[in-house]
């Protein structure tokens, strides 16, 4: 069974601080996605990474896929209260039609 371990599980920071969320596995994934979910809503896709070592930027968010395609990180620069939410990573193994999700990181950015 493939597992994705996310850390930290909870994160509470002040506006303007930087943070990093990690997503780790012993399995290799052909792609990895990051989602953000707000209370009462479904997850919304932020980014997909597919190449080992790939780095993608989305405004203040930087996503990196590990060289071995077993791990990923999400870095937020100068966090804002609007970044508050549950961040989920999800991986897809080659040939599979299913995503494996991490349990999520609940981020709170205080003004």
């Amino acid at each position: 069974t493939q597992l994705l371990e996310q850390s930290p599980q909870f994160l509470s920071i002040q506006e303007g601080e930087n943070l990093t969320v990690y997503c780790n596995s012993s399995s290799v994934f052909s792609s990895l996605q990051w989602y953000r979910q707000e209370p009462g809503e479904g997850p919304v896709l932020l980014v997909t990474v597919v190449t080992g070592g790939e780095v993608k930027k989305l405004k203040r968010l930087t996503f990196q896929f590990g060289d071995a395609r077993k791990d990923s990180s999400l870095h937020i620069t100068a966090a804002q209260p609007g970044d508050t939410g549950l961040y989920l990573c999800a991986g897809k193994a080659g040939g599979s039609e299913k995503l494996v999700f991490g349990k999520g990181t609940k981020l709170t950015v205080n003004p």
């Binding site: 069974t1 052909s30 792609s31 996605q33 989602y35 009462g40 809503e41 479904g42 997850p43 919304v44 896709l45 997909t48 597919v50 989920l88 999800a90 897809k92 040939g95 039609e97 299913k98 995503l99 999700f101 991490g102 349990k103 999520g104």
Partner: protein, 114 residues
């Protein structure tokens, strides 16, 4: 907007009653998924479909059945609801099978089984 709706959005039912949740898409995508989301467990796959009348089990399929008679509709049925099935249920679609496809989620159904 991937054109996914779920109904009902909220439901309270009693143990032992049958419950059917509906997922409807307007984009004619082949792959559809049902997940449940619980504190401490994240999103877990219940069943998925890769075409009309083509379905397969996920990691937590016991107590659930699905049907897909039309491309646009994917139904999740709890034949006899139990309190352990209290959860938030999400439907998702995938824009393409294989490779770096990604999933788009509906707004969710909050189900409470008393």
């Amino acid at each position: 907007d991937a054109g996914i709706t779920q109904s009902p959005r909220h439901k309270v039912t009693e143990t032992g009653t049958p419950v059917t949740l509906r997922c409807h898409q307007t984009e004619n995508h082949r792959y559809m998924y049902w997940y449940r989301q619980d504190p401490g467990h994240g999103l877990r796959l219940i069943h998925y479909s890769y075409g009309v009348k083509d379905t397969d089990k996920g990691e937590v399929s016991d107590g659930y059945s699905v049907s897909r008679s039309k491309t646009e509709d994917f139904l999740l049925t709890l034949e006899s609801a139990t309190s352990s099935q209290t959860s938030v249920y999400f439907c998702a679609i995938s824009l393409a099978g294989g490779g770096a496809d990604t999933q788009y989620f509906g707004p969710g159904t909050r189900l409470t089984v008393l």
